[in-house]
């Protein structure tokens, strides 16, 4: 694995499978009386969050602490006026404090790239969501969730529905799912699909009802009401009618199909309450899996002298 996790596209299939298998082992930690492993003892993980996100930050914090790492939380509301001083100076300060890894969420696409490549620090950088670019650990926990329910993802059909244009979750998932052999279909009104999406090696569709019956996984993305004011769609009512997942549409799904959502949900907008609370919905489980997956990522990046080699190379050693 590379030293930083900036994009889901950086992971080879072997890397991705290594993360998933490691997460599987770590998931059982939640059932033990002492939910701690010593692997990152003495390592310092900094959560550098320039955007509000309780869910993701807590998930990373829990992951780091369960591996016995020291965790420092830094929340900064970076307004569009605050310039690079914030990012650069913060990075230099953290380096001086001896951070081993920086988990960064930022409103600017590419901010983690800057942290990783600007030469300000030597920490491993984990992208916890940058602008509308990527959210690789979300894609990993989504893939992990799918894998636990469906087994191998080769040939599986995943439908991602919603505001693809502004969604970093969609971008990371499209990349990672392709790497793991799945077929991805992006479903959205034309205004919410990016120019050039044809080059992403995915299918696209404006018709949710045509896509749902064939899907093994349906992932609903958040759609912000404010997009209505920028004329991406006329009204909330029209959006939910044409692209929302409600009970009626849920009944067209196959028996084994699961419904996912990266959260936070807007009940009534892209997904109705009956769907969110149904047995098909694995939304709550995604959160649990998030901690295990993030533990796996932190362990594989920081647990050794360098990040883990890929699956084939890291074999066993003679005793002991």
């Amino acid at each position: 694995m590379k030293r930083h996790l900036l994009s889901a596209g950086d992971l080879t299939r072997a890397d991705a499978e290594l993360v998933l298998q490691t997460a599987e082992e770590l998931r059982s930690l939640a059932d033990r009386p002492i939910k701690k492993l010593p692997a990152l003892r003495g390592r310092t993980v900094v959560n550098l969050f320039f955007e509000d996100s309780t869910r993701t930050r807590i998930s990373f914090e829990a992951a780091a602490k369960r591996l016995s790492a020291d965790v420092i939380n830094f929340s900064a509301k970076g307004s569009s006026l605050s310039k690079g001083e914030s990012l650069k100076d913060t990075s230099l300060t953290l380096e001086a404090m001896g951070a081993d890894a920086v988990v960064v969420r930022h409103w600017a696409s590419g901010a983690p790239h800057l942290l990783a490549n600007a030469g300000w620090s030597r920490s491993s950088v984990v992208n916890a969501g940058d602008g509308t670019h990527e959210h690789p650990t979300q894609a990993l926990l989504d893939a992990f969730t799918m894998w636990r329910h469906l087994g191998s993802l080769d040939g599986r059909r995943v439908a991602i529905v919603g505001d693809v244009l502004h969604s970093r979750v969609a971008r990371s998932n499209a990349l990672l799912l392709k790497t793991l052999g799945a077929e991805v279909t992006l479903v959205a009104p034309p205004t919410l699909l990016p120019v050039g999406v044809e080059g992403w090696d995915v299918e696209t569709s404006y018709d949710i009802d045509a896509v749902l019956p064939k899907a093994d996984v349906v992932m609903m993305l958040r759609v912000q009401r404010e997009r209505m004011n920028a004329a991406y769609f006329p009204t909330v009512r029209e959006y939910s009618r044409r692209y929302g997942l409600d009970g009626r549409r849920m009944d067209t799904l196959q028996d084994h199909t699961i419904v996912m959502h990266p959260g936070p949900m807007i009940r009534g907008m892209e997904i109705t309450a009956d769907v969110a609370d149904s047995h098909r919905s694995v939304i709550v489980e995604q959160v649990t899996n998030g901690v295990a997956v993030r533990m796996a990522v932190l362990y594989l990046l920081l647990g050794g002298s360098e990040p883990a080699l890929s699956l084939e190379a890291s074999g066993e050693e003679e005793g002991r």
Binding site: G84, G110, L114, H133, R171, G196, G199
Partner: protein
């Protein structure tokens, strides 16, 4: 009292070598050396060498061009002296072979009154590195609401003829029409920064597959092309001149070709960086590549080169845009738009046009000196290299090659996108009305 210079063995416009005698601010004589053996001052060769006290400049192997004229430079003074001043910017210009620059109006305060343009003009004269022709804003404060006092600026000591809200677009159609009409009274020209504001709100890079992947808001080509088309039609309708700043797309070139075919009085410029760099550089997320208009695709670059070669695009202009370090050493979205250009312009044009076989040196002179001077209505610049003409001359060595080092620039800022890149050629000497501003590649 001024020194006489004898430039020996220079290839005029890349042609046959000749000696130039520069005296009292003009090209006094041109002696074609023909079969005469080129040597230094010790040999007696015609009247030139016999001038007492003449300083000889050995131009063996160098190309002589008329002093370059930049239609589009940002000198940042008044207001942003942390990025550049008239002194440092014109020094950079001279080192780039320029004898005249048009200083854009988006300063602080904006150059929308006679007072500010005269201030900039005077600063240019005091610095003495090259002639500075301030550009006047089209609208007050660049706000796009009311016309600035264009007439006052035209009548001022700065004699403004080029007006532009560059940095922003004059997007209101009626306002643009009025501006086009109004400047006819004093043979002025509106230089439009073509960028439909609503289509480019918070836009960061060229809109295409890459912008979608990188999560950077896209800047569609149509935002530039639609404005150019509208303005060409307006200019034709009211019988006015139009100049289009920094053309960046293939579609824009096509529209200009169409407008010129109709005989409309439209001129256009292209920046060196748009002749060389493409949008895939944004994948590094390094804001050194963030510029307005954005870097475009390889197909656009090719169309721009062809458009410059066939004359659809009249001129090369640098859009030299200095920014202090902290405005570029940050995440892309927070960074300022713009690149330096004065000191590398001729090298980039050599690499992309001359070395690529698309232009000869006479063609370069046309596009970097003659046409820009004509558009700006400059009397003393862009003149032929002939006896009696003002001695605005640049001597350039095309055989040189260097890897660009950001620390060697005369500009106060360092935001050049070419660091680490090998570029050909260097300016050896620049003469401003007979006085050297650059000798031996350094400030004179």
């Amino acid at each position: 009292m001024s020194t006489t210079y004898v430039v020996t063995g220079a290839r005029i416009l890349g042609g046959e070598p000749a000696d130039l005698v520069i005296e009292d601010g003009v090209i006094a004589e041109i002696i074609s050396t023909g079969s005469i053996h080129r040597s230094t001052s010790s040999t007696t060769r015609g009247a030139g060498a016999s001038r007492a006290g003449a300083e000889v400049v050995d131009a063996d192997g160098l190309v002589a061009l008329p002093g370059l004229v930049d239609l589009h430079t940002h000198l940042r003074e008044p207001g942003r002296e942390d990025a550049e001043t008239v002194e440092t910017g014109t020094r950079a210009a001279a080192l780039g072979g320029f004898t005249a620059v048009h200083a854009m109006a988006n300063t602080d305060p904006v150059a929308d009154t006679a007072g500010v343009v005269e201030q900039v003009w005077r600063l240019g004269r005091e610095a003495g590195n090259c002639d500075v022709f301030p550009v006047g804003a089209v609208t007050v404060g660049l706000a796009g609401e009311r016309l600035a006092e264009l007439g006052a600026m035209a009548d001022s000591a700065a004699r403004v003829r080029v007006f532009s809200d560059d940095g922003k677009c004059v997007s209101d159609a009626v306002l643009m029409r009025r501006a086009l009409e109004y400047v006819k009274a004093f043979d002025g020209v509106i230089a439009q920064h073509a960028q439909e504001p609503r289509l480019t709100e918070d836009a960061q890079m060229n809109e295409g597959e890459l912008s979608g992947r990188l999560g950077l808001r896209g800047w569609p080509a149509v935002a530039e092309e639609a404005v150019i088309a509208r303005d060409c039609l307006l200019a034709a309708h009211v019988g006015s001149r139009l100049h289009v700043c920094h053309v960046s797309t293939a579609g824009s070139v096509e529209i200009l070709r169409w407008a010129k075919a109709k005989g409309w009085n439209v001129t256009a410029e292209v920046c060196p960086h748009h002749l060389l760099l493409t949008d895939d550089l944004a994948a590094t997320y390094d804001p050194i590549y963030k510029v307005n208009p954005p870097l475009r695709s390889a197909a656009d670059v090719q169309a721009l080169r062809e458009g410059l070669a066939d004359g659809t695009i009249d001129a090369v202009a640098t859009d030299h845009a200095p920014h202090p370090h902290e405005d570029k050493d940050c995440e892309w979205q927070a960074a300022a738009f713009g690149m330096l250009g004065l000191e590398t312009a001729l090298s980039v044009v050599q690499q992309t046009m001359v070395d690529a076989g698309l232009l000869d040196w006479a063609g370069v002179a046309e596009r970097m000196s003659v046409k820009p001077a004509r558009i700006g209505r400059l009397a003393d610049h862009g003149r032929p290299l002939a006896e009696g003409e003002p001695a605005n001359v640049v001597l350039y060595d095309p055989s040189y090659s260097r890897v660009v080092d950001g620390t060697e620039l005369a500009s106060l800022s360092r935001n050049t996108p070419y660091v680490g890149r090998e570029l050909p050629g260097r300016v050896v000497a620049t003469f401003l009305r007979g006085t050297p501003t650059v000798l031996d590649g350094k400030q004179a």
